[in-house]
């Protein structure tokens, strides 16, 4: 290793990572724990397998730290290509598990290429956007950048795995950092809010209300002359959107998505059917109280009232057994982790590394937001894991590689080439 003297690891990130993995394992153990099985290393149990995955992750970390950093400049395109091929292959030859063709199975273990596609896309995007002649202001490069993201997302979507596909929209934050107008982000958010409003309220009344608000804004703005066209344009855009939402919701979304959204908005109540997950998840979290029931004391957890509790609904275990205190701790740890990642990304001198760092932060932020929002009933149920905490080898390894590639990059920031 040529860079031994100058390599400096960001221990804050590493410790946070280890903390999250440890919290994850404890909660997986609790989620699969029952009075009958108590062995820590039982390979037939999820917590036992997760322990193997963690060992594997540690090995990968060692490997990444050992390898020459210059490799990182070489691998993005091959890795990206490989990733696309694997996504294509899984669509053709993959194993169907609970309705989605997202898995290759080998022996007792299953491998989910969709998880690794995030790493590949991040690398490829960082590589592409750090080219000297790249500029967000130019149309063609911008389109290519979006294409790099869209391609894997479009291959994941038909598995079908809506959750993993929309994760790729997280890259909007990367684009923003590299020059995209923040307006697009706010527009996206505004449309999201408007979408929810459309479902909650009568379209006609909503239209009238918005006409009223914009009318008021036009009235209050004195020098309206030059801008009235813009206002009218926005207004008509909104009105068209309202009209299309109904159509989209009724005709383009699938039943299960529609139901999940309706239940989330409180338009439907169905604690036994589609709403069961959301309802039980909130019961589990809510029953934790302020201090929680204590490790392995969660009744909802122990007796499996929340489906998928060791994977996508792992936050329920945290909520039930560790209470408000534990939940806040995990939320703050994650928030700090993401902020730390952004800060580390910002100190990169090499543009590719910075972009990659942003990609890592964005993906983790997106997973964190959607997963917990889903568990606490703020977002419809989409199956994406909570990074480092949820059970699952593919997801743990993918996130570990994602993170430690960045830590590796960062470790070499003091080198002068």
């Amino acid at each position: 290793m040529s860079n031994r003297g100058t390599f400096s690891m960001d221990w804050t990130l590493v410790f946070m990572y280890l903390a999250l993995v440890f919290i994850g394992w404890l909660n997986i153990y609790a989620a699969t724990y029952s009075d009958a099985y108590t062995g820590f290393f039982d390979m037939n149990q999820n917590h036992g397998r997760q322990l193997v995955f963690i060992m594997g992750a540690l090995l990968m970390i060692g490997l990444i730290l050992f390898l020459d950093v210059r490799l990182i400049n070489l691998i993005p395109w091959p890795v990206y290509l490989l990733s696309l091929l694997s996504l294509l292959a899984v669509l053709l030859f993959g194993q169907k598990i609970s309705g989605a063709r997202s898995w290759f199975t080998m022996g007792g273990f299953a491998f989910q290429p969709g998880e690794f596609a995030k790493v590949a896309a991040s690398l490829a995007l960082a590589k592409y956007m750090s080219q000297a002649d790249f500029s967000w202001k130019k149309f063609k490069p911008r389109l290519s950048a979006i294409g790099i993201i869209a391609l894997p997302a479009l291959l994941i979507l038909p598995q079908p795995d809506l959750g993993s596909a929309i994760v790729f929209s997280a890259f909007i934050l990367v684009f923003h950092r590299e020059g995209m107008s923040p307006l697009w982000i706010f527009l996206g958010l505004a449309l999201g809010v408007l979408f929810v409003f459309c479902l909650l309220f009568d379209p006609l009344k909503l239209s009238l209300a918005i006409i009223g608000i914009i009318g008021l804004m036009m009235f209050l703005q004195r020098k309206i002359k030059g801008r009235w066209l813009t206002y009218v344009g926005i207004l008509s855009g909104i009105l068209i959107f309202i009209q299309t939402v109904d159509f989209t919701f009724d005709h383009l979304l699938e039943d299960r998505h529609r139901n999940r959204i309706n239940i989330l908005l409180g338009l439907e109540q169905d604690f036994q059917g589609v709403g069961y997950n959301t309802h039980q998840a909130q019961i589990a979290i809510g029953s934790g109280g302020f201090w929680g029931k204590g490790f392995l004391q969660g009744t909802q957890t122990k007796f499996n009232f929340v489906p998928e509790q060791h994977t996508d609904f792992i936050f329920c275990t945290v909520g039930e057994e560790w209470g408000f205190v534990g939940s806040v701790a995990v939320i703050l740890l994650f928030a700090a982790f993401i902020i730390r990642l952004v800060m580390v990304a910002e100190r990169q001198k090499i543009i590719m590394y910075r972009i990659y760092g942003y990609a890592v932060a964005s993906i983790l932020f997106f997973h964190f937001t959607i997963n917990i929002a889903m568990a606490i009933g703020l977002f419809p149920v989409v199956g994406i894991p909570l990074p480092f905490i949820s059970y699952g080898g593919s997801s743990l390894w993918a996130f570990t590689i994602l993170l430690f590639l960045f830590i590796k990059m960062d470790g070499h920031r003091k080198e002068i080439w």
Binding site: D35, P182, I283, I285, G286, S287, G288, G289, F303, I376
Partner: protein, 625 residues
């Protein structure tokens, strides 16, 4: 740092704050979720409390408990099995088994359902070892009633499973519970029931049991029902029921000093053990639908008969109190009571003027028609007089409920002025229009219980204690003043002696002289009540011994011709057994035990049917015209 980084910081901050707020709401503010969580995992399982025992006055166990077993099934634990062999062993029709299994599957694959209810111990001993060949089936133990005697069914009553409607009205019960349907089981339900315990069992999402909640810290033990000591003399009750074989009617005997019911017999009756076990439903519906014998109808408490001649004592007492007659008032009977076109026949066969005492033991209709007429005519108008008379009769416990601890009862009927105003459509009727009240006929109706109470009143010389069936709960005597404080009639005790003397002579030289027990001074009054349903009822009212009464009794035998034919001998046998412990007069006993009125009842039914047929005929003819 690039200012574009702050947008991410802001987003992360906002998301974190939103999450913390939401989690705070869920975990700290919203309490419903904690409740839902508990409901998710904790199943409350009842630990049934054993019902209290029922004892008789000598502490003989009448009703106890016995284990029975419900055969249950958990559908998803079933393995394919030989249904034919199974049906053979458990004595169930393959069709029924199929139906029950389907119902169990429809209800829940994981929760137990009942296949056969109430398999009794004998059968259980035979079949329970076979059960290992049928995984998915198991036995659940329940406590059922066990009856030590085949008698007193009408008094003890029986228990049954609560219906959905019952649970809706009585939320302290839940599905599968038993409750007292009839008899003491019903009126003392709250005492006998006890309090079921609750075991909290933790279950997982599939409703599989995972052990006890907090090691049973919050579990409650069942609180067994309290034992009840009744006032019944079960041996005497059994004896009376045997005497009543093949006869219809009711007998009530009271200890006049305490108001305790020594026996309450209704005939025909049924074997209480029929109400337990696998055939209970079939048995019950057979008893319930027997519209001819009506075994579930408690004649001693519910049947309202005309009291007949024993009621003459009441008129004698009222007359004495009111001064309408004295012990020495004499009336001559000329074969009946005449007033204008009214004639009440009398078969007393006396000649010349007779005093009150002889009027009683000869049961002279004329005497008491006159007495009654005198009572009413002491008042300005007949309605006012009748109202006064009515008040007197009510003070004897007739025409009203006792509100005692028996589950059922009837008021009987003591007509008042309003009643006759309605019947005669005027208030200008005279005493003689209602003169049949004088001899206990006409509109008057009493239950055997009320007549027995009359006997107790006379025995006590003027008061009674509300007749009741329970004397102690868990060994502690009842102290309800309703049962322990005497209720006085409106007649002074001084007037009773003449009437008692008359009733004494009934045994000495009157209508019941053949029912006399040697060595015991007995008082009684026979009755032969005309009734609209056919042959006269045989009635007898008595108490003994005369000066220190220990038992007061009333016997009604439906269609038993006349008082001394059935009712008097039966009453005297019961009194002999109670007072001496042994029945010496075997010939009377044999005659009563073997005597049957079944043919008479068949005749009555035939007459009734004929009458109905004729009525229908007439109706049809009328309609045709």
């Amino acid at each position: 740092m690039n200012r574009r980084a702050y947008l991410i910081f802001t987003f992360v901050g906002l998301v974190a704050l939103t999450f913390i707020g939401r989690v705070f709401y869920l975990q700290v503010i919203d309490d419903n979720l904690k409740l839902s969580a508990e409901n998710n995992v904790i199943r409350r399982v009842k630990d049934y409390a054993p019902r209290g025992h029922i004892y008789d006055r000598e502490n003989r166990l009448i009703v106890g408990n016995q284990p029975a077993f419900d055969l249950m099934v958990i559908p998803n634990q079933l393995a394919p099995f030989d249904t034919i062999a199974f049906c053979e062993i458990f004595q169930i029709q393959p069709r029924d088994l199929k139906r029950k299994l389907k119902a169990a599957f429809d209800y829940s694959r994981l929760k137990p359902s009942v296949i056969i209810k109430q398999i009794m111990h004998d059968e259980y001993a035979r079949v329970h070892e076979q059960l290992i060949f049928y995984p998915g089936f198991f036995f659940q133990r329940r406590l059922l009633r066990s009856y030590m005697y085949t008698g007193a069914a009408n008094m003890a009553g029986f228990i049954g499973e609560v219906s959905e409607t019952f649970v809706r009205d009585n939320p302290q019960y839940s599905k599968g519970d038993f409750y007292g349907v009839a008899g003491i089981e019903r009126s003392y339900e709250h005492i006998l029931r006890g309090k079921d315990g609750v075991r909290r069992i933790v279950v997982d999402v599939h409703n599989r049991e995972k052990g006890r909640f907090k090691d049973g810290m919050y579990d409650t033990l069942p609180d067994p029902g309290k034992h009840i000591t009744t006032t019944l003399d079960i041996e005497l009750q059994m004896y009376a029921e045997q005497l009543m074989a093949n006869k219809r009617g009711g007998i009530v005997a009271i200890d006049p000093k305490t108001g305790e019911l020594l026996l309450v017999v209704s005939s025909p009756t049924y074997d209480p053990t029929l109400m337990v076990g696998r055939d209970r439903t079939r048995n019950y519906s057979r008893l319930f639908s027997d519209s001819i014998n009506k075994p579930l109808f408690d004649r001693a408490l519910l049947a309202e008969y005309p009291p007949g001649s024993p009621f003459k004592t009441v008129n004698a007492l009222i007359g004495l109190q009111e001064g309408a007659i004295t012990a020495h008032s004499h009336y001559s009977c000329n074969g009946g009571f005449r007033f204008g076109r009214l004639f009440v026949r009398c078969k007393c066969g006396t000649a010349g003027p007779i005093p009150l005492k002889k009027g009683i033991y000869k049961s002279c209709n004329n005497y008491f028609c006159n007495t009654y007429k005198n009572i009413i005519e002491r008042y300005p108008t007949a309605p006012i007089g009748l109202q006064k008379w009515n008040e007197y009769v009510h003070s004897f416990g007739m025409g009203e409920f006792f509100n005692n601890d028996l589950p059922t009862g009837r008021k009987g009927l003591v007509p008042d002025s309003t009643y006759y105003n309605r019947v005669y459509r005027t208030n200008r009727w005279k005493a003689v229009s209602t003169v049949s009240n004088g001899i206990g006929q006409g509109e008057l109706l009493v239950t055997p219980l009320q007549l027995a109470n009359l006997s107790a009143i006379i025995a006590n010389r003027g008061y009674y204690l509300t007749p009741h069936i329970v004397s102690a709960i868990d060994g502690e005597d009842i102290n309800d003043p309703h049962f322990t404080v005497p209720k006085y009639t409106m007649v002074d005790s001084i007037h009773f002696e003449t009437v008692i003397e008359g009733m004494y002579q009934v045994f000495e030289q009157g209508t019941a002289r053949f029912s006399k027990i040697e060595g015991i001074e007995m008082c009684g009054k026979t009755g032969t009540a005309e009734n609209p349903h056919g042959q006269d009822h045989s009635i007898f009212m008595a108490f003994a011994p005369k000066d220190n009464p220990e038992i007061a009794i009333a016997v009604f035998i439906e269609n038993g011709y006349w008082g001394s034919r059935w009712a008097a001998p039966i009453a005297s046998l019961i009194m002999e057994k109670y007072l001496t412990g042994e029945v010496e007069r075997k010939h009377i006993e044999r005659r009563m035990l073997e005597g049957s009125l079944v043919e008479e009842y068949a005749k009555q039914e035939a007459i009734l049917a004929e009458k109905k047929r004729q009525q229908a005929e007439e109706k049809r003819k009328a309609a045709a015209q």
